[in-house]
């Protein structure tokens, strides 16, 4: 995918992200993202042996709570914004998955 020029296989990455791009969009994003990755290459040059990755600005070290059952969103509310749902059976309807 990425070669020495910071170029990469845009169609493969778009597929991973579930985005159907037109050929024009593929060309535009390939150029723009190559420039951004070339700019980001300065990060690769920094020595980081033994430096731990910072996952988040640690706020609360222990966020556990009791595993108590509490009311959750009613199914009807959860379905209300769905593009296609069957309220009677509380199901989301999607296109065919298996042939």
């Amino acid at each position: 995918m990425a070669d020495d020029r910071g170029d990469f296989d845009i169609a493969h990455v778009a597929g991973l992200a579930r985005l159907a791009l037109t050929p024009d969009q593929q060309a535009l994003y390939r150029t723009q993202l190559a420039a951004i990755l070339a700019y980001a290459a300065q990060v690769s040059a920094v020595p980081t042996d033994g430096v731990p990755p910072m996952v988040q600005a640690d706020a609360s070290p222990d966020a556990r709570r009791d595993d108590a059952i509490a009311p959750s969103l009613p199914a009807g509310d959860a379905l209300r914004n769905a593009p296609d749902a069957e309220l009677a059976t509380a199901l989301f309807r999607v296109p065919r998955v298996i042939g």
Binding site: L16, R18, L19, A20, Q25, M54, A63
Partner: protein, 495 residues
């Protein structure tokens, strides 16, 4: 000419509590101006008139108005990536153009509990991704100081309605600077709290290790009042800090004697407008005159903050935005023959160009074979950046620097070159990556009469010192007192 009537939260609240105006009067005044000037600025996506009127009726029925709360009868606008039950919440995206949240964000509940009237949902860059509000699916918001320029982003609509004196306060969200930069561009105050200070329950997620909700107001005192109303632990957000919110507004004395102000002067040269540098340095000199100690500090990895931010934020965004698949909520493309085609067409048609660009970049940096080289590497350099800032905050109590290297730029100026847009975040992403509180406070004007923001960064959990220093800057410059509608008469005078 300044429009007659209340300006700050204190003005609006006092008028209501004294009985000079009803909550209904306040609500109608704000709604009418949002519908007129707010709409002309492209700042408003939805007026929440029914909700505001219902809340106003409740407040007007209270016998003793002094008991209501710090935001009694005060109209507040909310960025449209913050959920409002029963009111359309789009995040500036076609994907959520008709989305009606089933519940309120915690911050919305808390604003209303403090007596506020929620009057509007404001325009923003799509999913808060942008620095100019030009990436909204519903058109750009405009800067009240010069409508040909950006109000900044992504909380551009919130900054515009506050700067235009339509409402005294608005909420925004700040991932890499999305509250502070528009506040700076529009001449208002904008706060990014310590990461974890304010609940994100009901905030539409962009980059979860960075996102924070914060207020935009005209004064530091008002920002402190709103922050106190929305801050504090929340069972619905496990990342909130357990500590209760202190009464920050009561701590604003103007006394900063002995306070150590760290200034990273090595960042003030390349790419920083002369007027921005002059104005910020003058404000720092005024702090010295108040008895503060100004010390030089160095942020050795500062030049890496923008690339590190964009690697981490896009990776997190690609994961957070995977939920928009046309199944449970939001837009679905017609005609997909199978599930995968439906997903791909929905996401192609539902997301705008900048969001698509960031999802692709984030997917790439997380993909097999590249994750360690890009994403984990960026997280390691994030550690180095955070260590630099924390070391500087041992030698100093707060850091002072520009909010942005330039004043508000023209609409259209940077949309063709994403990288040039990203570089406008150079001074704001550092505090975001380190999880520290930071504020933008107006400190002056450029020669063409555009506002300039000074940024103050505090230690983790120490909003108090940050707010006290920013309040001192406000007392010295008084820049907030000049309204956009005055600017023609002042001919771009410096405050």
């Amino acid at each position: 000419m300044t429009p007659p009537g209340p300006e700050t939260i204190t003005d609006w609240r006092d008028a209501f509590v004294r009985g000079a105006a009803s909550a209904r009067d306040h609500g109608e005044r704000a709604l009418a101006r949002l519908d007129d000037e707010g709409a002309r600025l492209g700042a408003v996506l939805t007026l929440t008139a029914d909700r505001a009127r219902a809340r106003a009726a409740q407040l007007d029925a209270v016998r003793d108005r002094t008991t209501i709360g710090p935001l009694a009868g005060v109209p507040v606008a909310v960025k449209d990536n913050i959920c409002t039950a029963g009111v359309c919440t789009t995040a500036g995206s076609r994907m959520l153009a008709h989305y009606i949240p089933p519940t309120d964000a915690t911050v919305v509940t808390r604003l209303e509990r403090a007596g506020a009237l929620i009057v509007a949902k404001t325009n923003c860059d799509e999913f808060a991704m942008g620095s100019s509000n030009e990436h909204s699916a519903f058109g750009p918001a405009r800067n009240p100081w010069d409508p040909s320029r950006t109000p900044g982003g992504s909380s551009g609509g919130s900054a515009a309605v506050v700067a235009a004196r339509i409402v005294p306060a608005a909420l925004g969200s700040d991932t890499g600077g999305s509250v502070r930069q528009p506040a700076g561009f529009c001449g208002c105050v904008g706060v990014r709290p310590t990461w974890g200070r304010v609940s994100r329950s009901g905030l539409i997620a962009f980059a979860s290790s960075l996102d924070q909700i914060g207020p935009l107001t005209l004064t530091v005192r008002d920002a402190a009042s709103v922050l106190q109303a929305i801050a504090g632990p929340d069972a619905l957000d496990a990342t909130t800090i357990p500590a209760a919110a202190p009464d920050w507004a009561a701590m604003l004395s103007g006394d900063i004697r002995g306070c150590r102000i760290g200034v990273p002067r090595h960042l003030f040269d390349a790419g920083v407008d002369d007027d921005v540098r002059t104005s910020v340095l003058a404000a720092i000199e005024a702090m010295r005159a108040r008895g503060a100690h100004v010390v030089d500090v160095t942020l050795a990895h500062a030049s890496l903050a923008v690339p590190v931010y964009y690697l981490i934020a896009t990776a997190e965004a690609s994961s957070n935005l995977a939920r928009y698949d046309g199944v449970r909520y939001g837009f679905r493309a017609r005609g997909g023959a199978d599930l995968r085609e439906m997903y791909e067409q929905t996401r192609r048609q539902g997301f705008g160009a900048e969001v698509t660009r960031r999802i692709i970049l984030g997917t790439f940096v997380l993909s097999a074979g590249y994750r360690d080289a890009y994403y984990v590497k960026a997280q390691q350099v994030r550690t180095l950046i955070a260590r630099d800032v924390e070391a500087a905050l041992c030698a100093a109590d707060v850091l002072a620097l520009p909010t942005s290297p330039t004043v508000a730029f023209a609409l259209g100026e940077r949309t063709a070159d994403p990288l040039s847009m990203y570089l406008s975040d150079v001074f704001t992403v550092g505090a975001s990556l380190a999880g520290l509180p930071a504020i933008s406070v107006p400190c002056g004007f450029s020669r063409e009469g555009l506002p300039i923001g000074l940024q103050v960064i505090g230690r983790r959990g120490d909003e108090a010192t940050m707010l006290r220093v920013a309040d001192a800057v406000e007392r010295d410059t008084n820049a907030w007192r000049q309204a956009p509608s005055d600017s023609r008469h002042h001919g771009g005078a410096r405050a």
